[in-house]
């Protein structure tokens, strides 16, 4: 593998994979601790109808309207889940199941019924993303391209978007770290200490939706769900300290993305097959990491004491 090949074919998908994975793993830590891991699952299913609705309304296939549509769909879904849960007095898992399957079904059907021919928008893409196609042609010039502004301008838009989203999520987490931690571990105490527990919950859902939507376009919904859950879960089995857990989850997410991309692109050709889905491989690697953690991590036992603040 030459530098030019690496920069052109591997570097950008890998970088995007890392950004998307870390952006999802960050809020995933708190969802996991709040036993809301499946909110991430629900949100990533309803991104599809949101994108389809945005496309039908605007007729544009550009990133920002679709991100807005997907974000709106995520909020609608969370609202609907709450409404179904209260009006129907249903258990939250069932309420979630009703809402996200219905919205996903509506999205698929709308996709089939509207004329989306000629537009790269299909269910396959929604599930798998198009990580492999995010290549950087200018990278063929070799390492020099990294310092060449004209070549850098040719980088896929998704890279910039994801970097922006990751920075925003990271900043929000850092800013509200203490409040979020207390509201997560002891909502009762948080409320008496004047922390807006409800606002924290809604904020977490919004951040989750933003991460899901931003990652979705590039990597598809499989990675999004896997990254919300697997790296934080593996990290949770490693440590009792929240700070260490979040940091290790970011590490696991990045390792999954890098290893997943490399294996998907380079391992199958060694045995005479074509490259396989990078998104699927990233999810698989994150699952293997979690599996190892389940078998061998120091804090894996059910009876171990809880996470400490810090």
């Amino acid at each position: 593998m030459t530098a030019a090949d690496f920069l052109m074919l591997d570097a950008v998908p890998m970088l995007i994979g890392v950004l998307a994975s870390v952006a999802c793993a960050l809020p995933g830590n708190f969802l996991l601790l709040r036993r809301q891991a499946l909110i991430g699952d629900a949100i990533s299913h309803v991104v599809l109808p949101g994108i389809v609705a945005a496309f039908i309304l605007t007729g544009l296939k550009s990133a920002w309207p679709m991100m807005l549509g997907a974000g709106a769909a995520a909020l609608v879904a969370v609202g609907l889940i709450e409404a179904v849960r209260r009006l129907g007095r249903l258990e939250s898992g069932a309420a979630m199941g009703v809402v996200f399957t219905t919205m996903f079904a509506a999205g698929v059907l709308a996709l089939e019924l509207t004329d989306t021919a000629g537009v790269h928008l299909d269910v396959d893409h929604a599930l798998n993303g198009n990580l492999e196609s995010l290549i950087w042609l200018e990278g063929a010039a070799g390492w020099g391209a990294l310092t060449d502004p004209a070549a850098l301008a040719g980088l896929p838009d998704a890279l910039g978007r994801l970097a922006l989203v990751l920075i925003a999520i990271g900043a929000l987490m850092a800013l509200f770290w203490k409040e979020l931690a207390i509201a997560t571990f002891d909502p009762g105490f948080a409320a008496t200490a004047g922390i807006p527990v409800g606002a924290m919950s809604v904020g977490l859902v919004v951040v989750t939706a933003v991460a899901a939507v931003a990652a979705f376009d590039a990597v598809g919904s499989i990675i999004v769900i896997a990254m919300f859950i697997c790296p934080p879960a593996a990290a949770r089995l490693m440590t009792d300290r929240l700070g260490v857990q979040v940091a290790s989850s970011m590490g696991f997410a990045a390792v999954s993305a890098v290893v997943g991309c490399l294996v998907a692109a380079h391992l199958p050709p060694l045995i005479g097959l074509g490259a396989v889905s990078a998104a699927g491989m990233i999810a698989t690697v994150s699952g293997l990491l979690l599996g190892i953690a389940c078998l061998a991590a120091p804090r894996r036992r059910a009876d171990a004491h809880g996470v400490a603040l810090g």
């Binding site: 009006l87 079904a105 059907l109 698989t284």
Partner: protein, 425 residues
């Protein structure tokens, strides 16, 4: 899509294959609804989501194995067997993670769901890479495609759907017991763990059989939505199971017929939307727990409170200031425009005061057990369930027998009941 084709498919006139598919879907939907009801009552609705996503690697591996063995690769029973094996592995892992690690069941579900699905997608791209042009059929397993199914496949699904319905029927007694009250079931010697296992096994069987019709992403909806909809109609477990079976069967029937009547209309989403339509209708209109009924009940209760408080105020000669109370009393002819009580109003006020005293006596007896010699076997708690009665507001003269009423009156020192309707001994 043409209405004609839809109607012929709906009424089983659409040709041998379409008819088999529609019947198979309906049977499968009924079995899914019924077994989903038990999963729903055990609060494990989303475990079935992990099961269904976990089928994908099994399907792909079964395809590869059959291809390597020189077969077609798309032979449905083989694919279903592969799906069942990997779904079972997924289920075991979910249970193991939730039990042995400190992660919750939600994290275990999400992890298995996404990782198995991701691995399945990897295997699908491997199959596409083989370049034999045979992978196309496998993608139907994601969203379901009833149209263009082989007759043998449709027959198999119809038979499997029927068998699953029978299995639910055969296992209904222990499953009802466990769903209704696991602690009691355990005390009576039922092996709760084995019943739970049988329940998830049934859900698994329905999932893998339904893959070809509904698709693995949405099959979970067939297990969740029908019981959630049926829950609005009843508080009884046996009726919930039956209602879920009916709702599941009808939505699968209509959905499959709709999908068969148009090209390129994926079956799974149509069935799911049909089920959701029934769910939404139940949520709004069901008389027992529906939103509309609840709102009406609330309103009726509110009006009864205003009426009673207004009449009590009249009886005490107090001024009524609340405009809603005034409105209600005026409309019933108890108050004149100028705020003075009519004759009917004064009579109703006396009656209300008497009834209030009776209710108080009855409540006092309820808090002091054994305090009454009167043979009033009913307690206030059970009175509420007697028809439409509202505790403390519905006149007791309408609830108790004349005999009970006069004994109650004797106890509170009224000697004989006044000329209240139905109260004379």
């Amino acid at each position: 899509m043409s209405i004609d084709r839809f109607m012929t498919a709906l009424f089983l006139q659409g040709g041998y294959n379409v008819t088999l598919v529609v019947i198979g879907a309906a049977l499968l939907g009924a079995a899914a609804g019924a077994s989903g009801a038990f999963v729903f009552l055990r609060r494990r609705a989303l475990v079935s989501d992990a099961i269904s996503h976990a089928t994908l690697p099994g399907i792909a591996i079964a395809f590869l194995v059959m291809l390597a063995a020189g077969g077609d690769g798309r032979w449905l029973p083989g694919l279903i067997a592969g799906a069942a094996v990997s779904a079972a592995i997924g289920l075991v892992i979910v249970e193991w993670m939730a039990r042995e690690t400190r992660l919750g069941e939600d994290a275990a579900i999400g992890a298995v769901l996404s990782v198995f699905f991701g691995a399945g997608i990897v295997l699908l791209t491997v199959i596409q890479g083989l370049g034999r042009g045979q992978a196309a059929g496998l993608e139907d397993f994601l969203l379901g495609q009833a149209a263009g199914m082989l007759a043998s496949e449709a027959l198999m699904i119809a038979v499997a759907g029927g068998l699953s319905t029978l299995a639910v029927w055969a296992l209904r007694r222990p499953m009802v017991l466990v769903a209704f009250d696991p602690a009691y079931a355990r005390a009576t010697g039922v092996d709760v763990r084995r019943v739970d296992l049988a329940m998830m096994g049934l859900a698994l069987a329905i999932t893998v059989v339904g893959l070809k019709i509904v698709g693995l992403i949405l099959i979970v909806a067939m297990l969740i939505i029908p019981p959630a909809a049926a829950r609005f109609w009843t508080d009884r477990v046996d009726r919930l199971v039956l209602g879920a079976a009916v709702i599941g069967g009808v939505s699968a029937w209509v959905g499959a017929a709709l999908s068969a009547s148009a090209d390129g209309l994926p079956t799974g989403p149509v069935i799911v939307l049909a089920a959701f339509a029934l769910f939404a209708a139940s949520l709004v209109f069901a008389p027992l727990r529906g939103a509309l009924a609840a709102a009406l009940r609330h309103r009726r209760f509110q009006r009864a409170v205003h009426r009673r408080q207004g009449l009590l105020a009249l009886a005490r000669d107090e001024a009524i200031l609340d405009t809603q109370t005034l409105g209600i009393l005026r409309r019933e002819g108890f108050l004149r425009r100028d705020g003075m009580a009519t004759d009917a109003g004064r009579a109703a006020a006396v009656e209300a005061r008497l009834d209030e005293a009776r209710w108080q006596a009855l409540r006092a007896r309820a808090v002091a057990p054994g305090g009454g010699s009167v043979a009033l076997t009913t307690t206030p708690g059970t009175l509420v369930e007697a028809g439409d009665a509202i505790e403390g507001l519905t006149p007791l003269a309408r609830i108790l027998t004349p005999d009970q009423l006069s004994r109650l009156d004797a106890e509170i020192g009224l000697g004989r009941p006044t000329g209240v309707t139905g109260g004379a001994p």
